[in-house]
């Protein structure tokens, strides 16, 4: 027990402050451990032989030459893995989609360029690639299906091109259109692009025969679900298999889902009793990891004379590529469910056709479904403004859901939850973001410069995001014998700062320094369950679970300390890691001393349950200059306002927004997976798939507000992962229309300079 101390320092608070990231030290010192950094003695390297054609009958595979190459241990084809079922659905797994799941190796048909047809196991990557080239595939080429919006028909002998239709509606749409003063109709599309993390995928499986434990390193995003389901696929159980996450060089929705390669390394490690390592290369990544976004919409709005929306009717075609992967119907479902956005829409109908094509299969990508439907809805708002003859800001104001209407029941469901916007003051954020962008002065200066012949314009886009998907998160907090605190979570770190944010929350609840807290994530051998990191859920769900467990642990610690300090718990407090008496006179005790006195006792576990998502919202304002000679777009100003209810660490929220913006910009102006008429992918390197670089990403003004805390958790938290991305295509399109003075000119993303040059010609 310590000497009586004079406590002058007041209790430090960490939540709400932009404290430095705890995860940066190893990364900045080059001590990160990414998938490729993990190696085991005696490991074999796996190389995937992929289909070179978009659609064909796989008549035979001759691997004899490959097998004869020194250093090649084995070659697997479908027959070696025929007992392994297809990859299951994680979300929105409609029964009718099940026949469209992907097997880990193609059987008798190949359906996209890049589909795994065989795998080589060899002593090193070079030999594995040499061998892969020697595998002879006998494929009878079939005509590929590449258009998702044409007539439906057979995809192959047993399957149709349209496995399912998503339908969502409320209100009386048909009557609203009959009674409408006017109708606005648009045809719009969003191009195929996706998250392209700096770190490609990787999986290293190792079987420990002595303990009968199978480990897979290189996990990300949802290790617990993947552990359970890979185990099931290969005949193991959740107790003798572990997934372990290292550093992850970007997730964005696409990394960390179960892919064929994850299952292959696990199955092979068991069969060969050798560590099996697979590291994806960039070309493989661009043709085999999930694509996303490609949709075509035909949308109509019924409006009154003032441009108030009476009804929205949308029919869309979602190009899901060749298989339904783990996300099943998630992306089109979210697109349909979130399309109404921040506006009062009395009647709504969405019909989303899920279509199969001979392209890389799709999944979620940051703001899945919402990047798409925000583009559609905000184009519609601009079209309504043009029809009524008011500006884009005014038409939005007229239709915004008011603060007084919160909580607002959208009468739609998605991801197994009912959508109720929990809180929000959309008009207030619109005002604040316009002020941030200097809107009136901006308009005045655009007018002046336009008169001098420049093509300049400004646009606004608004949106509601979703976050904090439940149903539950469990966290265990321990005070270790050295006084340090460990927070063991069931979430994952994809670079978003989860260690820092959880440490801040636990620090405040416990009364310790956030830097003394070690946050564990992504290790299935450390906690039994975990929902992982997706849907902007971590800070909301795991954050509240962390707070609950920390409060519980504090109570426990004070009770145990009270016995030793011969006082009652109510007169004790924890300040900067020390147990002190309130009033701070008399003896104190460190947490280390307490933990040593009660070995194994200083632990608490708690769970946060939530059946509703929470809904952050935002406004993006964009000003562009179009180069009439080349069709190039320069973004001259970009401002983002985003309300997250409560920012645990404002700088982390701003970073999420800034990074997300760059990805939104990519989808708006640069990134696209292009295919030729044979289904051959043309965007297979970074020379053809154009990621924005620091030179293409303009500075962004970011305003994070806390005007609408969520009533659904005590801290008022909402997630912040996707608001930087969501409306970027919409905002840029709106600004370009304005620059061209051609309302509705932009109908498709990405906006290429060639297309824009053609539009300039019309001026």
């Amino acid at each position: 027990m310590g000497q009586p101390t004079k406590m002058t320092a007041s209790k430090q608070k960490f939540v709400g402050r932009s404290v430095a990231r705890l995860e940066d030290r190893p990364l900045l010192l080059g001590q990160g451990r990414f998938a490729a950094d993990i190696s085991f003695p005696g490991q074999w390297h796996m190389r995937v032989v992929r289909s070179p054609v978009a659609h064909g009958k796989l008549l035979g595979i001759d691997a004899s030459a490959a097998l004869a190459l020194p250093g090649v241990h084995a070659v697997w084809t479908y027959k070696d893995v025929a007992h392994i079922p297809p990859i299951p659905f994680r979300l929105t797994g409609l029964v009718e989609l099940e026949p469209y799941r992907q097997f880990i190796l193609a059987n008798d048909t190949v359906r996209y360029v890049g589909e795994p047809v065989a795998v080589i196991f060899a002593t090193d990557q070079y030999i594995a690639e040499d061998a892969a080239e020697m595998v002879e595939l006998n494929i009878e080429t079939l005509p590929p299906i590449l258009d998702a919006s044409g007539d439906t028909g057979p995809f192959d002998a047993e399957r149709a091109t349209e496995p399912s239709i998503i339908r969502k509606s409320f209100g009386d749409v048909d009557s609203a259109f009959k009674a409408a003063h006017d109708v606005v109709s648009l045809e719009l599309s969003v191009g195929r692009h996706s998250g392209v993390p700096m770190e490609t995928r990787g999986a290293i499986a190792r079987y420990d025969e002595a303990r009968d434990i199978l480990e897979m390193h290189g996990a990300a995003k949802v290790p617990w679900w993947n552990r359970d389901h890979i185990a099931q696929m290969i005949g193991r159980t959740r107790t003798n298999m572990h997934l372990l996450e290292g550093h992850v060089g970007g997730g964005f929705g696409i990394r960390g889902e179960i892919y064929p390669e994850d299952v292959l390394v696990c199955a092979a490690a068991l069969v060969f009793k050798k560590p099996i390592k697979w590291i994806e290369d960039r070309r493989e990544h661009l043709i085999s990891a999930n694509h996303s976004r490609q949709q075509q919409h035909r949308i109509r709005a019924a409006i009154d004379a003032d441009g108030h929306i009476l009804a929205i009717d949308d029919e869309f075609f979602h190009d899901n590529g060749a298989y339904m992967r783990t996300h099943a119907a998630t992306v089109p479902d979210l697109a349909a469910a979130m399309l109404p956005g921040p506006y009062r829409v009395p009647a709504y109908r969405a019909v989303g056709h899920i279509r199969l094509t001979n392209k890389t299969p799709c999944g979620t990508y940051r703001a899945p479904g919402r990047y798409e439907s925000t583009f559609i809805r905000e184009r519609l708002m601009d079209a309504i403004a043009a029809k009524v003859g008011v500006d884009g800001v005014e038409i939005r104001r007229r239709n915004l859901i008011a603060k007084a209407e919160m909580p607002y029941d959208l009468h739609l469901d998605t991801l197994g939850t009912h959508i109720v916007y929990d809180s929000g003051d959309y008009a207030l954020l619109l005002d604040k973001t316009l002020a941030l962008a200097g809107w009136p002065e901006l308009q005045a200066s655009l007018k002046k410069r336009r008169a001098a012949g420049e093509l300049l314009g400004a646009g606004v886009a608004m949106f509601v995001e979703k976050s904090g998907l439940g149903p539950s998160d469990t966290v265990r907090v321990d005070i270790m014998s050295d006084g340090k605190v460990e927070v063991v979570t069931g979430v994952a770190s994809i670079g978003q700062g989860v260690e820092t944010a959880m440490a801040q929350i636990a620090a405040d609840a416990l009364g310790v320094d956030y830097a003394s807290i070690n946050v564990v994530h992504g290790q299935t051998d450390r906690i039994d369950t975990g929902a992982g990191a997706f849907a902007s859920r971590v800070t909301v769900m795991c954050g509240e679970a962390t707070r609950l467990a920390s409060v519980k642990l504090r109570d426990k610690a004070l009770k145990l300390a009270a016995e030793l300090m011969q006082t009652d718990a109510a007169s004790l407090d924890i300040v900067n890691g020390e147990i002190v008496r309130t009033g701070r006179i008399g003896s104190s005790m460190t947490l280390a001393e307490l933990a040593q006195a009660w070995p194994g006792e200083l632990t608490a576990t708690d769970t946060f349950l939530s059946s509703h998502m929470v809904y952050p919202y935002g406004v993006h304002v964009c000003a562009v200059k179009v180069d009439a000679d080349t069709g190039a777009v320069a973004i001259e100003r970009y401002a983002i306002g985003y309300d997250v209810g409560k920012a645990v660490n404002p700088r982390l929220v701003e970073s999420q927004i800034a990074g997300g913006f760059a990805q939104g910009l990519g989808g708006a102006l640069l990134e696209e997976f292009v295919y030729d008429e044979n289904g051959e992918p043309l965007s297979v390197t970074f020379a053809d798939y154009l990621m924005p670089t620091s030179r293409e990403v303009p500075p962004v003004s970011i305003l994070v507000t806390e005007d609408a805390p969520s009533p659904l958790n005590p801290m008022g938290l909402k997630g912040a992962g996707e608001g930087g991305t969501n409306p970027v295509g919409a905002a840029i399109a709106s600004a370009i229309d304005d620059a061209l003075q051609q309302p509705g000119a932009i109908t498709d993303l990405p906006i290429s300079p060639q297309r824009l040059k053609a539009l300039c010609q019309k001026n």
């Binding site: 030729d676 154009l690 030179r695 293409e696």
Partner: protein, 285 residues
């Protein structure tokens, strides 16, 4: 992304290098210079040379000097060598200006001037420079040395007059007149990408009129070249907006534009019009 097996040879002298080249050229032997084009295509296994003759240690090939008439650029001179003035002549400033548009910094520190010419990407800035300024290529083999004029050197997309046993040992760029003006412009979707169209112009002003005008266009046809029709419209003109526009129009009409999935013929012509005009505008102080 791992290359197919190959043997790397590291000659120290030019004779040794040429000997290896004549011996191995017929057995899929290739020269390795900066590796900034060759290594990526080997990683994709689009090229599978069985032998690489690495010239990075060959003595004497790092020569970068002027004899008062021309700047000689040896086969080991990197793009980055032009970040500073290579010669006290408007040519030095021209090369510095153009070099900034090639790829990104780390690539410029390895890629070579001669490697760019040998690789002959139609959009290469150095190929445009060589064509516009009528460079002389010095090709060496164990059979001897020959000089090739730029207009005979570029034969098409990634194809040159070099024989397979020839090393492009040196390129000679004629110095510009001390009062020469130059302008350069290119268009690409991202900074550092190969240009979708580019133009380099040089001229002098004598008695207020443009003279000795050269207008080069790159990235638009199978190989960069001078557009003499555009040069003719400018010679004898005062430098002015109308003349620049007319020359740009003439240049874009004179082309046989390359097409690809992001650039149709019409758009390529639009871009050429823009880059020629802008190169001319940039040339004004």
């Amino acid at each position: 992304m791992k290359p197919a097996p190959f043997v790397r040879h590291v000659p120290r002298t030019l004779d040794e290098a040429l000997g290896l080249l004549s011996q191995l050229a017929g057995q899929e032997g290739r020269i390795l210079a900066g590796g900034q084009s060759l290594v990526p295509i080997m990683a994709f296994r689009l090229a599978k040379p069985a032998h690489l003759i690495d010239i990075n240690e060959v003595a004497g090939l790092d020569r970068l000097e002027s004899d008062g008439k021309a700047l000689s650029i040896g086969a080991r001179v990197r793009h980055g060598a032009f970040h500073k003035l290579a010669v006290d002549n408007p040519l030095g400033a021209l090369l510095t200006f153009v070099a900034r548009h090639i790829a990104h910094y780390p690539i410029r520190m390895r890629g070579t001037f001669c490697g760019s010419l040998a690789h002959a990407d139609p959009a290469s800035e150095w190929c445009l420079t060589a064509a516009t300024l009528d460079a002389t290529m010095v090709a060496k083999s164990s059979r001897g040395t020959r000089e090739i004029a730029a207009r005979d050197f570029f034969e098409g997309i990634m194809s040159t007059a070099l024989a397979e046993d020839e090393l492009l040992a040196e390129v000679r760029l004629p110095l510009l007149a001390p009062d020469a003006k130059f302008g350069f412009n290119e268009f690409s979707r991202r900074a550092g990408d190969f240009a979708m169209a580019s133009s380099l112009v040089t001229y002098r002003i004598v008695g207020g009129k443009m003279t000795d005008t050269r207008v080069g266009v790159g990235g638009a046809e199978a190989a960069p070249r001078r557009i003499t029709e555009a040069e003719a419209t400018l010679n004898g003109q005062t430098p002015n907006d109308a003349a620049f526009r007319e020359a740009a129009r003439v240049a874009s009409d004179a082309l046989d534009p390359l097409e690809d999935h992001q650039t149709n013929a019409e758009y390529r012509r639009d871009l050429v019009r823009a880059v020629v005009r802008r190169a001319l505008e940039n040339s004004l102080p």
